[in-house]
Symmetry: C2
Subunit: 192 residues, 2 copies
């Protein structure tokens, strides 16, 4: 791997583990096995390198989500597949966790790929909910944008619950709760 | 205010803004207007002071939630009131944000008050959901623990969406989505 690639990879890992505030240029160089000169040769500094790293992580997250959301199945099944897809739950979301970082949130440049990725996901989920409404799978009273935001929030908050308890079970419980609320329309009318 | 109180207050603010990893003893002392000696006179060090700060924040959060959850109204109305209660959305949750902190999660002592607070909230919400089921307000097929986890996750994830977009609206959208899914049983059977 080339030096800039090693630098980007190390930054991605450190941002995921420790956040932007907790990641020093020194730690990046040590993990990448690179010298200070090579970092400033390829990048303008920590913000520039972090931006490249965040963009790379965002692209990957989008591709993974897209594969599930564009997969086979009814709208409910695709949302279910998205919620149940295998995740490294205790590591948290490499994109979502950046929102807790004061220096990421304060920088419109660093925040942009985070915002755009979550926004793209929300739009994609909203269209699937609308599809499900049109097919009569979801109640006509539901709003696509609102349900999409609730789905995304449950995933992001599920990470918080899992990391607090030290177990992925809390993530799964929240996801099952949302899925039971979203379960196709008919089910609500039948006594359990 | 006494020096230990000033130190605890400053630590609470800094943990909320910057997290544990991002909070240096120096920054705490500066904000509290205290000298290094006074910190080590009253506390064993940063972890000990952070523990006192986290416990204080957890107690306050619990009291605020309790006031809403034990308030008047049907089970649905109390969950609604909890979800809609006024929050400083863009600041995030002072307890939930600590779960993104590698040093908090790695310390069983610092993680304990975070875990216990979220756990208490989840139990309290689960009992309200069970109440609603018994009264026929929620479908009998819903599981109290699961719905409670979904409610809590939506709040925690709502902060993530709001901070990513730089606007509290994203939090409100997610909450409205969850409430529309949770809205008493009968509504699902009627066409919109």
């Amino acid at each position: 791997m080339s030096t800039p690639e090693r630098l980007i990879d190390s930054t991605r890992e450190l941002l995921w583990e420790r956040g932007y505030v907790g990641t020093s240029p020194k730690a990046i160089l040590e993990r990448a096995g690179a010298g200070q000169g090579s970092m400033y040769h390829h990048f303008k500094g920590k913000p520039d390198l972090a931006l490249a790293a965040i963009r790379r992580t965002a692209e990957e997250m989008r591709a993974t989500a897209e594969a599930v959301l564009d997969g086979p199945g009814t709208p409910y099944e695709r949302i279910e597949a998205y919620l149940l897809r295998e995740r490294d739950v205790l590591r948290g979301c490499p994109i979502g966790r950046l929102t807790m970082d004061p220096e990421v949130v304060a920088s419109s440049e660093l925040r942009a790929p985070v915002d755009q990725t979550l926004d793209w996901l929300r739009e994609r989920l909203a269209r699937i909910v609308e599809e499900g409404r049109e097919q009569g799978q979801f109640a006509a009273s539901l709003d696509g944008e609102e349900i999409a935001a609730a789905v995304l929030a449950t995933v992001q908050g599920g990470y918080v619950l899992a990391r607090a308890s030290g177990s992925p079970a809390a993530f799964d419980t929240a996801v099952r709760g949302l899925l039971s609320l979203l379960a196709p329309h008919e089910n609500h009318d039948r006594p359990a």
